[in-house]
């Protein structure tokens, strides 16, 4: 075992640092661009240098580097340190681009991959529906061919960024005869057209990170389909896996722990620093056991990736483990806050990488720690996955019967 990066990668780190020293912040005219413009300009340099869009072929605007998770990790660390932009984060880069690369038509890749990665084009996702939730088989939004266009009618929910997105990738029922997971197609559509009604979905925190999107006779060209007709469920599968992994991430858990520790140092219980209270110390140290286990599970998985091995069951647990950690942090926080827990969370400030910065921020986190559980499938679905795929227990009776 060796947790250092070794001389080869430290040399690589030197190169990345030198690049960043030279190129970020931007200089000259480029420094006068707006923030979005600066990010796009810098991403082009990052791609040219081989640091960004590494898994994307040159032909589609990527830097086409050999897969090397460790280099990727070094890049993430150094870019974060320099506060330099990486690939445009969001559902487009994370979910659509891999799907297009794996299943898309040539013209689709050429048209959208580069712009999405650079951040010129923003996407939103149309999967969930009010009646469906984690049960895609109940999907109702319809797309019917009318000449050279699909005509879409229906409703989606839990759509992040729908107000700002240029396009949506959407699952629609296109083969009315078929049921369940059959008969669904994966379409792309332009969000800037009539017939689309985006309504923000206000959260209990007061924020609105999600939307409902209503479609009435929304049109998209016949060939804006990824994969074949009726294969949409299959096409969407790869991407869901991406999403799950991205949420369960150890660095985030570590950051969360630092935040609660800071809060414990700042708070008092019965007039004494809370951090000196044995009950709080026990709760924090118990929590830290889970946090450190999560961190080193992350290293284990990274190593397995580097070696091309399967990390096993642990991969199915990242999400639930980090959700549990987030919930426990939230509960300790509310005890530490005392009166602070009476504060309206919509006034909350959240520092970049620093976590909640005031009582309102922590109350928001107390609520969001539940919301996070919801975003990538509730805990019960995660537990089904661990039990079935991890432990080999029988599949859920109703889900199974429903699919048959």
């Amino acid at each position: 075992m060796d947790l250092s990066y070794g001389p080869e990668y430290e040399a690589f780190r030197g190169e990345v640092k030198a690049f960043l020293d030279a190129e970020w912040p931007l200089k000259g005219d480029e420094a006068k661009l707006d923030l979005q413009g600066q990010a796009v300009a810098f991403r082009k340099k990052g791609i040219a240098a081989g640091y960004l869009a590494r898994s994307i072929p040159r032909h589609y605007g990527g830097s086409e580097q050999e897969a090397d998770s460790l280099k990727a990790q070094v890049i993430r660390e150094e870019f974060a340190r320099a506060r330099a932009p990486m690939e445009a984060m969001g559902i487009g880069t994370m979910m659509l681009v891999p799907t297009l690369l794996e299943r898309g038509e040539e013209w689709q890749r050429e048209r959208w991959v580069e712009d999405t990665v650079l951040g010129n084009t923003a996407w939103c996702q149309g999967y969930s529906e009010p009646g469906a939730g984690s049960d895609l088989a109940s999907l109702k939004t319809k797309a019917e061919l009318d000449g050279d266009d699909w005509v879409i009618n229906g409703q989606k929910i839990w759509t992040s960024g729908a107000q700002h997105a240029d396009f949506m990738f959407i699952l629609c029922r296109t083969e009315p005869g078929e049921k369940k997971h059959g008969g669904i197609s994966y379409l792309l559509l332009d969000m800037k057209q009539p017939g689309i009604d985006v309504r923000p979905l206000r959260q209990m925190t007061g924020g609105a990170d999600f939307n409902e999107v209503f479609f009435s006779d929304v049109r998209t060209p016949k060939d804006w389909i990824v994969g074949k007709r009726g294969e949409g469920w299959l096409v969407s599968r790869t991407t869901l896996k991406h999403e799950r992994n991205s949420i369960g991430n150890a660095a985030q858990a570590q950051g969360t722990f630092r935040n609660i520790l800071k809060l414990a140092k700042q708070s008092t219980i019965d007039g004494k620093p809370a951090i000196e209270n044995p009950a709080i110390r026990q709760r924090l140290a118990t929590l830290e056991g889970y946090v450190q286990a999560h961190v080193y599970s992350g290293y284990r998985q990274m190593t397995a990736g580097l070696r091309g091995e399967d990390a096993g069951m642990i991969q199915l647990m990242n999400k639930l483990h980090s959700t549990n950690i987030g919930q426990e942090v939230a509960k300790i926080a509310v005890d530490l806050l005392g009166d602070g827990a009476l504060t309206d969370p919509s006034q909350g400030a959240r520092g970049l990488f620093a976590g909640p910065e005031n009582a309102a921020g922590w109350v928001g986190q107390y609520m969001s720690s539940l919301g996070v559980a919801i975003a990538g499938g509730t805990g019960n679905i995660q537990r089904n996955v661990i039990a079935e795929r991890g432990l080999g227990l029988p599949r859920d009776y109703f889900a199974d019967a429903h699919k048959r």
């Binding site: 979905l201 959260q203 009950a279 009166d339 504060t343 309206d344 019967a401």
Partner: protein, 356 residues
Amino acid sequence: MDFGLSEEQQLLQDTVAQFLANENDPNQLRARFDAEEPHDETFWKGLMELGLGGLLVPEEHGGAGLQMIDAALVAETMGFAAAPGPFLGHTLAGLAIALGGSEAHKRAWLPKLATGDALGTVAFGEEDGSWLPEQWSVGGDALTGTKCHVPYGAQADVIVVGTKGGGLALVAPGDGATIELFEGVDRTRRLYTVRFDGAAAEALPDGSDAASRTRDAALILLAADAFGGASRVLAMSVEYAKTREQFGVTIGHFQALKHQLANMALETEPARGLFWYAAHAFDEVPEDCERMAALAKAHVTDRFMHVAREATEAHGGIGFTWECDVQMWFKRALFDRAWLGTPGTHRERAAQLAGW
């Protein structure tokens, strides 16, 4: 031996429940929750007409002269409905004056509080997180200092202020007090920060005893409110499980959810006896009261918070939205749990009171 409700008590609870079902259904509640306007006077007037203004005010002063158990049963019903408004502070103010005031104080305020012609509240919390009589620092002949988290402080005609040394004083807001809205999480019970700068105040002659009794009463009313709230979010979750479908069946068929709901019921239902007994002890078993009030507040508000979190999850994604009714109770749970001190604080008090 009888540890159950009398017919009168059941009637009282039913009457209030019926009124709230008609006048504070989830849509009406939501309108009040979302309103800028902190206080719906029409709704409050309706409650006053039911006689809820003077539950604990002696009959000779125009009140109902009821016991703490009766007030707790009403508080449970208010919690079940997440009824908005100043009931908590108003009830406590009436009790404090009835227990600690001079005859003149009582004559001046109790009849008006009982009818709702005047609104009362209590100012117990302070800026450093202190809530309890022995911790209060606001004082002086002309009252000086800041009180926090005062329910409906801006609307109140009289504020019962906890003062240095553990006493109580009456302030009729006016000169010498600056009152500003605190942006609170629970929009069914609006809070204010009240800064006194040499305000005129009249000390209650029996303020010290009244302060500790009023503290216990507050703990019991919060526990009762929390029990009502927990029952409601459980009922909402069960109802949702019976109607929402997934994979072709209602989600109440899923054993994991069934067991979560059973656990929620198990966290909730046994707590009923606990707040009942704390209230009964206030009325009849003085030696048990202080400790049981602390234990009940700690236990029941913790259970409510837990069950409200579970209820949010039981509703899936929609549970996390403003549109979902659960969130209003979730926030009420935060209030019940934090106001007057956390469960941890009151558990430590219970430990001390038991001589552990």
